[in-house]
């Protein structure tokens, strides 16, 4: 992405706050003009103090009172300008983050599956933060800097045209120096951020899995590895920090040269009568003032470069194409007819996975899917839920192709429990009523009793109000909660992907019973390792390498003596 286009996009976000932007510029103008004018008034006041018995106190106090008034107005203007800038920056950042989260909800899962959570989080959080810092600095220093330059130039022109022109002509020198240094420090910055990225990855890996590190006594080795990368980072960081900090002194050096040049030329001009001594001292002090904002502006530019680099990463995420547009058609009453017709699908288009998949499911059937890992069981569920779209072929529910039904309507007709349990940080109640937020406590407790989770929920310190986070309950308990979540919704169809794998078998039997009740007359798809749980399925599909290699009931398949019967019997084999 080009820098200009990033700026253009950024301006779209800033544009929403154009009133604040204009206000900020006006306030910057007021405060700068007053701040530049106050010294003039002080000069006037001092001029009234000439010598002993020659002090005009009334006139002096008039100036001093004016000063007090202007100072207060300037201070108020500075404060309000800061508030306005704060407001603009933080709201722009809020807007970007909100948009990012909404966008995530609409991104195709293929994108989210392929990008690490850490990377996306760091775009939304860290990069946006750096952008925010850059914007804030830009708003506060850029405007007042520019206004100071303009106002000072006006004052200077009023004193001497030629010296002023000389100053203007010498100005680009300071920019050239700044540019020269920043292009040098840029490579170091890049190396720094690369190494920092590597280090963050190591931190996430080691600290994130600290329990494994401890279990293997890997602590010292982890420290050593960290030390290596930490030292490398130190090298690059020191250079990057050092090089970039040279910009300011270097431009200041150029300023000093300009200052000296003004003194030199001024000194030659005075005897010619085109300039007075007083005029020269005013020019000198203004020359100083005129250059200062340039220092600020160059530092703002460095900061902004960093901010823009981060903005690019955010915009890349925000511009990632969304899922195919949704149909508005709603499934009214779902009978549970599922038709899968010549479906092909693969994640990596160069390697085929599911090929020519066909299946007809009558309402109320229980379909079990078994097979070795990587055979396409979970992929099949991804397709049913339209987490992914088929490459070719059709999946129909009650005769309607699923890509002609709205995603919400389709997904509402399925209840899904996955092996990979996900619990949001929040109370037990919030987690259970996730699919039906308006349910009453009675409904929740009834569902929990059916799903056999009530036993442990009851014993939690605050019952339904216990706040859960990642590791506060066991894997099996999490799974029970996920099941409760579905029990509460009573969906017309059910998908269970290893839904009871972490639950002990006694509880599982009871849960199974509840599922059986729930599933009466409802279509369900069950993926399971424990073959005991799928024995009474109406149809068992045995999958391998994306294809159905056997199908039939438990008894039929056992009789066939194929892959399934081998799998089934292996669990009873005794260990010699």
């Amino acid at each position: 992405m080009k820098k200009d286009s990033v700026m253009k996009k950024l301006f779209k976000y800033i544009g929403k706050y154009w009133i604040l932007l204009i206000l900020s510029i006006i306030l910057a103008g007021i405060s700068v003009v007053l701040q530049l004018y106050v010294p003039v008034l002080f000069g006037n006041a001092i001029d009234e103090i000439v010598a002993a018995h020659n002090v005009d106190f009334t006139q002096m106090w008039i100036y001093l009172k004016q000063i007090l008034l202007f100072v207060v107005i300037a201070a108020a203007a500075i404060w309000i300008m800061n508030l306005v800038n704060n407001r603009m920056t933080y709201h722009i950042v809020q807007d970007i983050r909100s948009q990012a989260i909404s966008h995530i909800q609409k991104l195709p899962l293929s994108y989210l599956d392929q990008h690490s959570t850490g990377d996306i989080v760091s775009r939304i959080i860290a990069d946006t933060d750096i952008l925010s810092d850059g914007l804030l600095l830009g708003f506060t220093q850029l405007f007042s800097g520019v206004v100071t330059v303009v106002v000072t130039l006006i004052f200077m022109f009023s004193k001497n045209v030629w010296i002023t022109l000389m100053v203007i002509l010498l100005t680009p020198l300071s920019f050239l120096v700044a540019k020269f240094i920043s292009s040098r420090s840029f490579t170091m910055f890049k190396k720094q951020s690369e190494t920092r990225g590597k280090q963050t990855a190591l931190i996430e890996e080691m600290i994130g899995n600290q329990k494994v590190v401890k279990a293997f006594g890997y602590e010292d080795k982890a420290s050593k590895r960290f030390d290596e990368i930490n030292k490398e980072l130190k090298e690059y960081s020191q250079k990057a920090v050092f090089y970039s900090s040279l910009t300011n002194p270097s431009t200041r050096f150029v300023n000093n040269i300009i200052y000296a040049a003004v003194a030199l030329v001024g000194a030659f001009l005075i005897p010619l009568g085109t300039l007075t001594v007083g005029g020269l001292s005013v020019l000198l002090s203004y020359a100083n003032q005129y250059m200062k904002p340039f220092n600020d502006i160059t530092s703002v530019i460095t900061e902004m470069q960093n901010a823009l680099a981060c903005a690019t990463r955010i915009f890349d995420l925000l511009e990632e194409p969304e899922e195919v547009k949704d149909s508005s058609e709603v499934l009214e009453k779902v009978d549970g007819n599922v038709d899968i017709d010549h479906v092909d699908f693969s994640y990596d288009k160069s390697k085929s996975l599911i090929e020519d998949f066909n299946l007809q499911v009558e309402p109320g059937m229980r379909i079990a899917i078994v097979g070795p890992t990587g055979c396409g069981k979970t992929t099949f569920i991804n397709l049913l839920m339209r987490f992914y779209d088929v490459d070719s072929g059709k999946i129909c529910i009650d005769g309607k192709p699923i890509d002609e039904i709205s995603r919400h309507s389709l997904r509402k007709s399925f209840g899904m429990v996955l092996q990979d349990t996900w619990i949001k940080s929040g109370t037990v109640r919030e987690n259970i009523s996730f699919g039906k937020p308006d349910s009453t406590d009675e409904e929740i407790i009834r569902a929990a009793k059916e799903a056999k989770s009530w036993d442990f929920i009851r014993r939690l310190p605050q019952g339904l109000d216990t706040v859960l986070h990642e590791d506060s309950i066991s894997q099996g308990q999490k799974q029970l909660l996920c099941i409760t979540r579905v029990m509460l919704c009573l969906p017309p169809m059910l998908i269970l992907d290893e839904a009871t794998s972490s639950i002990d078998t006694r509880t599982e039997l009871q849960v199974q019973e509840a599922f059986d009740n729930l599933m009466k007359g409802r279509t369900s798809f069950v993926v399971a390792h424990r073959l005991s749980t799928i024995r009474n399925a109406s149809l068992i599909l045995v999958m391998k390498d994306g294809k159905i290699i056997e199908q039939g009931t438990h008894e039929e398949l056992l009789k066939e003596g194929g892959f399934y019967s081998h799998l089934y019997n292996s669990q009873f084999q005794a260990v010699s």
């Binding site: 701040q35 001092i46 931190i203 900090s245 002194p249 000093n256 078998t505 669990q571």
Partner: protein
């Protein structure tokens, strides 16, 4: 907070030299007006072009010397700040390595990661800016005050009143805003957490059509963060106007007083100008200082969070040397009336567990969800200390063993299969750094992972992604088992680590484990009776209590809980049992 100074100490010289050179630069800056005055007073007055050019060259020379001083200062500041942050980062990392499971459970890894990355970066920025600029401003302020006294004592008193007032105001604003900055960081933590949640839970959120609610919930935290940011901004934005107004009021009083003095004839106009110049210089410096202080406030809030990590002391201590020799005749593992309660939990997870295991035995542990199976095995490797009772290895209390001894002895395969970025070989060497390729292949063979590795390009050199993302769940699990086997532990613990394997692989693996040479004591935690029925001893846990122990046959006779578990998995046998055929 104070603790963090230690890390700057190593860079004492740099930390002193950096501000020192900065001051030198300031001195050259301050001398410029003197030289210009000479140009006016001597050069112009005598129309001496040679003198003017000479003084011009002096100005250039001073600028050049100032530049080199500044470069030197920046160099030392960069060295000190980056060096200090590097040391600090290492210290925090090492400190975390010393945490026990209890600390890890209570702090949570997410916040540890932010503190190690974001917060320390902020501290580095703070030190760098501080070294470069923090001393410069007070130097100019105090210097101006001293110069004022040399000019006129009475007028200088204005400085004496104004400067402390200024510092009080600045410190007050700092004190108010630092805790607020911490709140902002905490709000940011929440927004980060929700972002992560939206990504990890994307399938569930979509399955339950909760996209809109998730966005709304995020929006709430996001708005709260903005509100806090604006609030802190409002207060720290006061700093700049406050100093500006205060200094100008002081200047007005100064001029008024000076007017009286001049009127009385005790002072000249030129001196008034000089006094005014010093005040003006202070204004410029103080405004710079104000924006610097905001950066420093942020850095300090972050430093506090980092120091918070360093303040946490580990609750687990290992002896330096083993106090007693292993007794070869003793049991391999003994539990004597062991109870355990997790920190902060109400109810105990294990109560009054006693059993003993002989060398070379295979122990199965079975029981309901959340009954304490994993807790029990994590006491063997001393991840946690028993709340009461003792755990013994070879007749010695685990608390008397060194960390190294326990690691050498016990190999554990945890429930969550975690692999690390790097080659398969690197991952396998976690168990034993010096393992040869053939030893690794042996372990892979036992773990039924030989075919998995053989199927990868480069075999042992195949690069795994973070968390082994480029492997399936079952493949990951087999590799984690192999990793523990490479260690050749005396005690091997498999904590429900066969759950992602299909039955055929599971059975083959258990068979291979049983055939391991040497006398490995094995603990198998499982949900499946089939997985443990051959064990020499089975422990049946029920809600943290030991409901029974013995062989499969014994338990079938004596243990109600075990029978129930068995029949839930082999329903056909229930009828047989009831008919008395078993």
């Amino acid at each position: 907070m104070k603790k963090l100074w230690v890390y700057l100490k190593e860079y004492k010289m740099e930390s002193i030299l950096a501000p020192l050179f900065k001051l030198l630069e300031v001195v050259f800056d301050l001398l410029v007006p003197v030289v210009v005055a000479k140009i006016i007073d001597i050069g112009i007055a005598n129309n001496d072009h040679g003198y003017i050019v000479k003084m011009f060259l002096v100005l250039i020379l001073m600028a050049a010397v100032g530049l080199s001083c500044s470069f030197t200062a920046q160099y030392f500041a960069a060295r000190a700040s980056v060096g200090c942050a590097t040391n600090l980062r290492q210290a925090v990392f090492d400190h975390i390595q010393g945490f026990s499971f209890t600390e890890l459970d209570t702090i949570g890894t997410d916040t540890l990661i932010t503190r190690m990355t974001d917060d320390i970066n902020q501290v580095q920025n703070g030190i760098n800016m501080g070294l470069r600029l923090l001393l410069r401003s007070p130097f100019i302020v105090i210097g101006s005050m001293i110069m004022a006294f040399t000019i006129n004592f009475k007028c200088a008193l204005v400085f004496v009143v104004a400067i402390p007032l200024l510092f009080v105001g600045v410190i007050f604003i700092m004190l108010v805003s630092i805790p607020l900055f911490k709140k902002v960081q905490a709000a940011l933590d929440r927004v980060t957490g929700l972002t992560r949640e939206n990504l990890t839970g994307v399938r569930v959120i979509r399955a339950f059509c909760r996209e809109e609610e998730s966005v709304n919930e995020f929006e709430k935290s996001n708005t709260e963060l903005t509100r806090l940011n604006e609030f802190v901004g409002r207060i720290s934005a006061l700093l700049n106007p406050f100093t500006y107004v205060l200094i100008n009021i002081a200047t007005v009083i100064l001029i008024a007083k000076a007017g009286l003095q001049v009127n009385l004839g005790t002072m000249h106009q030129g001196q008034v100008v000089a006094l005014y110049n010093y005040m003006a210089q202070m204004i410029v410096e103080l405004i710079k200082l104000a924006s610097l202080i905001i950066t420093l406030n942020k850095a300090m809030a972050c430093a506090d969070r980092v120091a918070g990590v360093l303040d946490i002391r580990t609750t687990m201590h290992y002896p330096e040397t083993a106090s007693a020799k292993a007794d070869p005749s003793a049991n391999e593992v003994d539990f004597d009336n062991v109870s355990f309660t997790y920190a902060g939990a109400g109810a105990s997870s294990l109560s009054d567990i006693s059993f003993s295991v002989k060398k070379g035995q295979t122990v199965g542990i079975i029981g309901g969800t959340g009954c304490g199976k994993s807790t029990l095995v994590s006491l063997i490797s001393r991840f946690y200390d028993a709340t009461s009772g003792t755990v013994k290895l070879n007749g010695r209390n685990v608390k008397e063993l060194t960390n190294q001894e326990i690691h050498d002895k016990v190999g554990i395969v945890q429930q969550r299969s975690v692999l690390f970025k790097g080659s398969i070989r690197d991952n396998m060497k976690w168990g034993n750094e010096n393992a040869s390729d053939s030893e690794i292949w042996d372990a892979l063979k036992v773990a039924q992972a030989k075919e998995v590795v053989e199927g990868k390009d480069g075999q042992l050199d195949f690069m795994l992604e973070q968390n082994g993302k480029n492997l399936s769940g079952g493949q990951r699990q087999r590799l984690t088992i192999a990793r523990a086997l490479v260690k050749k532990p005396e005690i091997l613990i498999l904590d429900d680590s066969l759950s992602a394997l299909d039955f055929a692989t599971d059975a083959a693996l258990r068979k291979a484990l049983a055939g391991l040479e040497g006398e490995t004591t094995t603990f198998l935690v499982s949900q499946r009776v089939a997985g443990i029925r051959q064990a020499d001893k089975i422990l049946v846990l029920d809600n943290g209590e030991l409901a029974g122990q013995g062989t499969h046959e014994e338990l079938m006779k004596s243990c109600e809980v075990y029978r129930e578990i068995y029949f839930s998995q082999f329903p056909e046998d229930r009828a047989k049992y009831e008919r008395g055929e078993m």
